[in-house]
Symmetry: C2
Subunit: 312 residues, 2 copies
């Protein structure tokens, strides 16, 4: 078969892509995510958008392998979502419902796991079989690929890298209710917090003190200008992240770790900092692990979704 759709459902928009089964992106577009009435329109809207695309491009439905779809929630191996904070869904059988709406085969997965699969297929992890991806955005997400397949887990909740405990002495709570989660320090929000706390520590001069918006980007921009206080903040962020990733690598034994999400836009300058602390805690078998910055940006999700279906 020649074609496959990849769909990535987000809290505000749904990204859709038409792929060849060889990995060429033929088309990509977006539709809004309509969350009213428990998000009941989301899957029908996707089905309708795909129907139009098939019609417009005069594609023979028999040439379509199916639809892969990423959901921002745990998704079981059978495509079942138990609940989603972001989409207002309760229990939903995504594979079955979207198959009934489209007449096409469907395979659903967790969006972070599929982003990792996308980077493995067409991005930074190309050619790899064992890979971790960590997504540093507002929160910290993660995905793991082992032997070329995205991990799923018993509850569809594998590779929740943001909630690995990296500080057993933390007293403040993470959004998940636990304490000491990687997300508390290595997300964009966490980096901004580390920055505020460092600046509050003393009066050491720093260009960060003149910033209107003290966010992760400001910290990495200041680092690039040689600001010593910014470097201290980056060292602290990198220590939490590097130590956390070392603990993940001990379980997954990846060939490559891909750093994605908004924070990764700081670029390759991040890697030596993260690697230094990773090596401090890495098991001897994992010391050759390569670090790379993600390449597919917002397309990772649709790419991985298509790949999940293609590999079915």
């Amino acid at each position: 078969m020649k074609y496959c759709f990849g769909v990535d459902v987000g809290g505000t928009s749904v990204k859709l892509g038409l792929f060849t089964t060889d990995g060429e992106i033929l088309d990509k577009w977006e539709i809004p995510t309509r969350k009213e009435n428990k998000g009941e329109a989301i899957l029908p809207d996707i089905a309708e958008s795909l129907r139009k695309k098939i019609e417009d491009r005069k594609i023979d439905k028999g040439e379509i392998k199916g639809i892969g779809i990423g959901i921002p929630a745990p998704v079981t191996g059978d495509g079942i979502v138990k609940n989603t904070a972001n989409l207002c869904w309760g229990y939903k059988e995504v594979n079955r419902e979207l198959r009934e709406l489209t007449g096409l085969d469907v395979r659903a997965g967790n969006d972070a796991n599929l982003a990792a699969l996308g980077e493995m297929w067409l991005g930074a992890g190309k050619g790899q079989k064992d890979m971790i991806m960590v997504t540093l955005g507002t929160g910290v997400g993660g995905g793991a690929i082992l032997d070329g397949r995205a991990l799923v887990g018993a509850n569809g909740a594998s590779a929740e890298i943001g909630h690995v405990c990296v500080n057993y002495h933390e007293t403040k709570k993470c959004g998940c209710g636990k304490t000491g989660c990687l997300e508390q320090y290595a997300s964009a929000t966490g980096i901004a917090r580390l920055a505020r706390m460092r600046l509050a520590w003393d009066e050491e001069p720093s260009i960060l003190r003149n910033q209107k918006k003290l966010d992760a980007k400001a910290v990495f921009d200041a680092l690039k200008e040689g600001d010593a206080v910014a470097e201290e903040i980056v060292e602290q962020f990198a220590a939490y992240l590097g130590h956390g990733l070392a603990n993940v690598a001990i379980i997954v034994d990846p060939a490559v770790i891909v750093i994605g999400g908004g924070v990764s836009k700081a670029g390759d300058i991040l890697i030596p900092y993260i690697k230094k602390y990773f090596l401090e805690k890495a098991f001897f078998a994992n010391t050759e692990t390569e670090f790379m910055i993600a390449q597919l940006d917002n397309d990772a999700g649709i790419c991985g979704a298509a790949k999940l279906m293609i590999d079915k």
Copy 2:
């Protein structure tokens, strides 16, 4: 095909088993592990022992699926061992060498990963697809099964649960060279250390003070007799183990965690202690994870080895 061999290579003896492909153990026996001359006799000895067994039982070689073999070292997906502390091997292509010696198909894996696979096939994890096994012996070993398959990893070193960092403030070194590894606290050696340190803390009376041999078994025996100091030691052990397993579960998302190794002979009394601390740090999606004591004892390795070959 009807038969399969499972082989488990240890530092002092090699365990061998003849299985039906349905999971019945027809025969099991042992031979010594001859480590002299870089362990060059180990694979030929195994081949000769299997040859005799085939002859004695008058088995048609065409009815044998092959040989699964567990090695106490990282083993890549292609059956390559880079070095082993315990067997004195350097680089060894186990699949190829043993295939050439026996004329049978061979598949090698890491012994701890295969023990986990064995427990999933015929032991405590029966019927599960997503499982972690942690082996509490002289050291702490581990294996992970995801979607019914033993994780391998890029270097054949997945699920090294004993070397997850559970104490970022430890200054004493683990055998692996790092600090704060789970193995430093939750192995039989670690438990004995926690016991000595607790007794050294003050003069509180405890039946442990009269023990000739203050080992893990003595601690759990004292716990069963209601000794309060022993309970404190078990709480401390369980905190390190429960927290470490919570960090592993966040990555693997298992349905069940199986506790094996010598320490697990203490039995079900361990489970509530471990579970209490696991839940303290578990991600919300993992709170339903079940805990079980391993059932196959020393047979787990040969069972898992056979299963690896059967699933090939």
